[in-house]
């Protein structure tokens, strides 16, 4: 919500004049933006409200829509609409998109002007926060078909364990027309649980149970191994589907290892989701950037990478230098630990690395904590699984 600061300033000015303000928290408009994923129950949606209060620094009270999205549907189905009601609950003004400048002008007419309008700067709203200290951008994003529609996903309860991972399922429109097409499955960690993948354990696995009237290929899958110990990137899959009967849902069971650093646990989790063959009208749209349209043959054209290649990626280019900062140097083991731009710490083998600075060659013992370096990685690893650095240039 980009207009929160302006709305907060208007609230500051008009609440003392007897106007009451409420935000209505609704289904996510753009799931996965800043990592946020759709809640699966009211308790989780209320967690979103708390997160919004905290991260946006709002003073205006929040009302939370029901999980059936009654308020959203009953008041026009728009993501950022705005209403002014009179004291009898009648609509005086409505807008499909909130416009704070116009809202202020309306209130000025309704209850009178404000002598000194509050400025946004005076509100001391919080700066954007970084939520996670684990790596992101280390797992290759899938090259997805251009047109995907969100499907209704239900969770199959099994005990009190929260769904740390949310399944996003999207289907090609061809599936609803001919029964044949591709299904996107994205397993997204819910940032509100502060959990990350444990990459020292087995990668995420899924299994799909379909009725005899559906064929899914593959019906089992495993996420790729990731070099960094922990990350929070989604695990994504594309599944080919051939449906004879759209009334039969798919059941997807997923197994993964999750860790919570603050609570000090790492554990295996098994959870099940049910995918219904219905477009979810409240599923929102994912901002994936400009995807190339599918060609006539149905094959997606290559997508431009939207991230910096990281060491350990299948796609990492060995010759492309990566900026980093030295965390520690182990002279005996001939290794260094560095902090990468995505805030993950990675240990490299530097036994055969060419070390340089602006003046020429460098010795390992000359490197110190916080030194800024450029790394040239190879695709080779030592016996301990550490990536071997080809070059290191001290900046």
């Amino acid at each position: 919500m980009r207009n929160v600061p302006s709305l907060e300033a208007i609230n500051q000015d008009y609440a003392p004049k007897g106007v009451q303000f409420y935000y209505i928290y609704k289904a996510l408009a753009h799931p996965q933006t800043n990592g946020y994923v759709a809640p699966v129950n009211l308790a989780e949606r209320l967690m979103h409200v708390q997160e919004a209060q905290k991260t946006l620094g709002t003073k205006i009270a929040w009302l939370c829509d029901s999980m059936a999205n009654d308020l959203k549907h009953g008041l026009g189905d728009a993501p950022n609409s705005e209403f002014i009601l009179d004291p009898d609950g009648r609509v005086l003004i409505k807008r499909s998109w909130s416009k704070p400048a116009e809202l202020r002008a309306d209130l000025e007419k309704l209850v009178g002007p404000v002598e000194r309008p509050t400025t946004i700067a005076s509100l001391n709203l919080p700066a954007k926060q970084t939520r996670s200290n684990v790596a992101t951008g280390v797992v290759e994003k899938l090259d997805l078909p251009a047109q995907l529609r969100p499907l209704v996903v239900e969770t199959v309860e099994s005990g009190n364990e929260p769904f740390y991972v949310k399944l996003r399922a999207e289907a090609e429109p061809a599936i609803s027309r001919s029964g044949e097409g591709r299904l996107y499955l994205g397993f997204h960690l819910d940032p509100l649980y502060h959990v990350h993948w444990n990459n020292l354990a087995a990668p995420l696995k899924f299994e799909i149970k379909a009725s005899s009237a559906a064929t899914v290929v593959p019906n089992v899958g495993e996420a790729p191994k990731v070099i960094v110990e922990a990350d929070s990137d989604p695990r994504e899959f594309l599944i080919a589907v051939n449906l004879q009967d759209r009334s039969q849902p798919l059941e997807v069971t997923v197994q993964y290892f999750a860790c919570h650093d603050e609570e000090g646990w790492c554990k295996p989790v098994t959870q099940t989701y049910r995918i219904l063959w219905q477009t979810d009208p409240d599923g929102g749209t994912v901002r994936r950037g400009r995807n190339p349209r599918d060609s006539e043959s149905g094959e997606a054209r290559p997508q431009r990478p939207n991230r910096r290649p990281m060491p350990g990626d299948q796609s990492a280019q060995p010759n492309r230098p990566i900026p980093a900062r030295i965390v520690s140097v182990d002279l005996e083991a001939q290794t260094i630990k560095v902090l990468l731009p995505n805030r993950s710490e990675v240990e490299y083998n530097v036994a055969s690395t060419r070390l340089m600075d602006a003046d020429g060659s460098l010795e390992l013992k000359q490197l110190q904590e916080n030194d800024r370096v450029m790394l040239g990685v190879s695709n080779d690893k030592d016996s301990e699984g550490r990536i071997i650095l080809r070059r290191l240039m001290k900046r």
């Binding site: 609230n11 009953g74 008041l75 728009a78 609950g89 609509v91 499909s96 309704l110």
Partner: protein, 87 residues
């Protein structure tokens, strides 16, 4: 009269096309031009939201502490409602 060069003819031709596009009625435009997502939101909102002058439906919502509140419970003051979410 000075003869028009090739470039000038091109310009006249392009302007004619623009003029045709601007004045052609919608039924004569080529089919398949989809409504933009923003326009789709606007038209759905105009269709589905309560009209100006109507009382808002008495729908239930939840306060941040989980307690239930209905829209008619907010009567008594001028009220501003703004929809939003974390994304």
């Amino acid at each position: 009269m000075q003869r028009l060069t090739g470039w000038a003819w091109c310009l006249v031709f392009l302007m004619s096309i623009c003029l045709w596009g601007a004045t052609t009625p919608s039924w004569a435009q080529p089919p398949g031009r989809a409504e933009s997502p923003r326009d789709a939101v606007d038209s759905a909102f105009n269709r589905k939201s309560p009209e100006v002058g109507d009382t808002v439906p008495n729908l239930a919502a939840y306060r941040a502490d989980g307690s239930t509140v209905r829209l008619h419970d907010l009567k008594g003051k001028h009220t501003v409602l703004v929809f939003g979410c974390l994304t």
